[in-house]
Symmetry: D2
Subunit: 352 residues, 4 copies
């Protein structure tokens, strides 16, 4: 048995931190050695997450985030910090030789101008952006292997980019007529104390929000542009809030650019993802459900060709916390350490 690789988590108190602990606990090669939180420093991990009482990691001390300390203890660190915080930490961490997987948007957008436009602040280390690899393994496995900085994708973009990749790559659809109607569970909003996310506000209700304005839009457009080898790309991206904990369904409405059969488009998808263990292209007419991917790395994709309205509808389902955040980060971490991509990530769905 080879020795374990020490990793750390900065910003442990949110849901992506929780999910990383769940996954690292089942991982054979990574050893969670350090967790930090400004507000909870001084406690043990099990004080803030009682579900980890009696686990080995439950006794981990929560420390203040300190790059020197991190560099002494970890070869890789997951930054589960909000947008704007990461860019202050990353340069130092990289300088000290720590590999970084950043959960924020700080290094996802290749253009500092686009960043400023959507995040209303200047990027403070634009020279580092080009070092970052956008961490979707189905797109960038090779680049991830050689990277020391991963921009871990947003949950919505993950669900959308995977839904569209084969169709765009094969020019099967009109790239100028794409409407995305996404629905996300409440963990997607993080663990923030806002009235909208109180149980009594979200329970037994449903709403649209931020139509056409969500900050995940530029990230989606950047990656779809790359896939379709275009300079510009515009989508209509429209999020909704589901009264569930985990899960995203993106229903993507597209216009076929040529005469396609459902069998034909199904073959394009199956072929495109034939080497990707976590993409399940459903049989024609089958449609995905969030519960079928709960707790896993799967992205289930259903395909519908509607001859009446001449639309190809692509529906994808992911677990926003696992595939859309912490699990995907762990897949990158595996690749960065020359482990099997699926190490610790062959998970069973928790149903019901």
């Amino acid at each position: 048995m080879s020795s374990k690789i020490a990793v750390g988590i900065v910003g442990i108190t949110g849901y992506t931190g929780m999910e990383l602990i769940r996954l690292l606990n089942q991982h054979g090669r990574f050893d969670l050695s350090l967790v930090t939180s400004r507000q909870e420093a001084g406690k043990e991990l099990q004080d803030i997450f009682p579900q980890y009482r009696d686990y080995p990691e439950g006794k981990l001390p929560v420390s203040e985030p300190d790059t020197k300390h991190i560099a002494e203890h970890c070869s890789l660190v997951f930054l589960a910090t909000p947008a704007g915080t990461s860019m202050d930490l990353v340069p130092e961490l990289l300088d000290k030789g720590v590999k970084v997987i950043d959960f924020s948007a700080d290094f996802r957008l290749r253009s500092p101008e686009v960043y400023r436009k959507w995040y209303k602040t200047d990027h403070r280390c634009p020279e580092i952006i080009s070092r970052a690899v956008y961490g979707i393994p189905e797109l960038y496995a090779e680049e991830i292997r050689n990277a020391d900085l991963i921009a871990n994708p947003g949950c919505y973009p993950t669900s959308v980019i995977l839904a569209l990749k084969p169709a765009l790559k094969e020019n099967s659809i009109d790239s100028k007529d794409i409407i995305i109607d996404s629905k996300s569970g409440v963990t997607g909003a993080g663990r923030s104390l806002k009235p909208d996310f109180l149980f009594c506000e979200a329970n037994d209700s449903f709403k649209a929000y931020g139509l056409g304005k969500h900050r995940h839009t530029p990230e989606i457009e950047q990656e779809l542009a790359a896939i379709s080898r275009q300079d510009e790309f515009t989508v209509s991206f429209n999020p909704h809030l589901l009264p569930i904990n985990r899960g995203i369904i993106s229903t993507v409405y597209t216009r076929p650019s040529k005469d396609l059969s459902l069998q034909g488009i199904h073959r394009i998808y199956s072929d495109s993802y034939s080497h990707d263990p976590w993409i399940r292209v459903l049989a024609p007419e089958q449609l995905p459900q969030t519960k079928h991917v709960k707790g896993t790395m799967f992205c289930d994709i259903g395909l519908v060709l509607d001859p009446r309205s001449n639309r190809l509808i692509i529906v994808s389902a992911i677990d926003n916390l696992c595939r859309g955040a912490s699990g995907q980060a762990l897949a990158s971490a595996n690749l960065m350490h020359n482990l099997e991509i699926s190490e610790g990530l062959n998970l069973s769905p928790l149903t019901p």
Copy 2:
């Protein structure tokens, strides 16, 4: 105080029957005199709906459906029966002078051919179809007042037609490029004992179903054609199942047909519905939530103009059981008896 008008419900055991009881209990002029159910005949209403213990209507005997008996006791009857059953009852009831509000699809489609195509069975009294009025009061209040047969609209169509009426009427959008992404609570499926509707299957999950194939599609197209004075109309209608009891959000993606401002389109909507007490056109940028209309007749409409993708997005929210079924039926019943349309229907939302 004028005397009460006796009404009945055929097929009391489902959710629309339950909702009718709730609403009739608060109604000043209708008196629920008769309830029927083949499988529960012989019991009292409170035996099957214990929530109505100690209510006057709780002691109502549940009888077998019998048109002669109905005609003796009711001037109007609500048929909360499945598609295919209503058309066997309606001719006799009309003959006997009973006014009918039918909850099934049997009299919604003006064309028997369209009915056959979508419901896979021949219509058994096509000669009566033209007598039926499609019961959306914002469209057909006058016709409803004079009708003796109302085809009570489907819940999805109610949410979609109200969302699109002003834009189509004013030719503000391209009628050939309409995509509807609807999400409904589980009561929309009725009270049927199918595995998909078990708590443990639907809870904490979400899915798409029947994309492009739902039976509410022809009803939507028929009414949108009428509104826009076209012979043919095709939409892409795509339903999803929400883990909530009540509520529908329809997100409707359209293409402006001319240069519109958000203020302009907002004015079109406000003007169009200025005399309709139950349509609330939200301020620009505001978006509806199902909880804000829960238990009420409201249809809340939000408008978003997305200049990036050149789309007008219209979002509507209704309570599928009240506005989308039993409450809307009661509005028709009010009109058919020359009562105020809002009699018994000025309801407060139950939040949280």
Copy 3:
């Protein structure tokens, strides 16, 4: 038609304020004339509760709480303020001739010492406590009619006191052996921004909390002592948090003090509550559900006599927001103005 009575709500932003608006909207005689909130002053009511757009009360300005202003506009005011705030407002309001219904615990406990012990602060106007009537109409209808200050009961105490009243009054059970296992929906915790009440924390989970230590305990004991004409009374009161919006079930375990039959105890309960329209004593063996009382004033009571363990188990269900808070307050307001107790409170349950 007699003229309307002007009432106000101090502290409008919480769930009990929301529920009062729902109920006052359906009330024929009270007119909501004034709403206050320190943090939301300057807005209209519909800005903070969009569900009340287009309602007459939606345009009400939210003002700063000011006793002089309140006295000029209202003959009665509901104080939906936290414990500790009410006692600073009540003396002035009473002085100015305003009737007060207080939702906090400030005037529920007749003993300032007991108040200090459980609320960890001194009572600041102990001389006024004796003026307050504990607002359960089934216990104190006469006193409420003549009062100018009502201490509106806690939600748990309402469910427990109503469950036990007949058995204690008739000495049917051992008053020294009472265990109460209560389960409440999340609205019982108010609208406070605490992590435990976030959707993702409460959803699909369940927990016990504060066993033996909840602040509603002294209130329960005080009233049970009064009912059973004892000086001291001790119960084991144990709350749990349900992942639902509204509803409390209290399962009360008692020891029969004599040889009782289920029919006998059922008769005691039916007789005791024969004049109380909102208490539904269920048939022997039937058990209550929160959904059957949702949105209503009902307290449903089920009785089980378990011969194996020699226990009489009493189960009660209420809607904690309506019967357990705002609806019960409105019943008191009705009595204080010589209206029918049920004015505006003959509500239908919202099921499903």
Copy 4:
């Protein structure tokens, strides 16, 4: 790496079958070789459980249950069949040398008379009952190791017996004064198509049911009698239905039989379970939550000593599907094959 052990599941379509698949998929030594279902025979496993598409076990053919066929393919079989069916299969399976873990109640009760009384039918192979071991490893690990027939415990009994074992063993409480208030998620009812378990009936509601009469009562009493070395044992056992998928909280009210301190009773519990990896005795004053054990084998136990009412309150939380059914069965299977008890069962909780 040693070779895999072939196991089978009879009655695959329910929730315990689903959960077994989840767990066996993560198990290093067992190989799921055979699944049966009368109604689904002929399909592949992934046809009935689409969440297992692309898993190795997804391609397993679902066969008719046939003891000869089972014996040829499996060394151990899990019977996820309803009460009354198992006792017809078990004798043949044992004869053919197949080890059996039965999920039904058929072999849990040592007395055929008690079985007849509670299950209203005669036991058809009473001679085999004594061969069965009640499968709680904290009680019977040694016996399980040597058994060929395990009666896998009910979910409620698991939560109750583990809560009470240390206190009863040490005579810390009065064995004649035990009240159990249990609350279970809906999966506890299985996957049966009954109206009460429909989403719209169970969602956002809560109820008591079967107070004093649940069939898990005799099983609880039998095992508590054994623990406390008494011939007879009577408890008041009272179940409630929670609107969650998984999880049981049992709140157990007991009377201390001697002068106990909370520290003292905490030590008794900690010592009693010091060698049991899945029992977490929480720090004094901490209370369990179902989400902290979701998807795991843990039984979290909280202890409260209420001096006011002189009660020791013991609260336990388990995942009814994992610890209370399939996971516990797998622990027995591990022991029966001389594997580590925790093989494949070191699971992380899925939160949120």
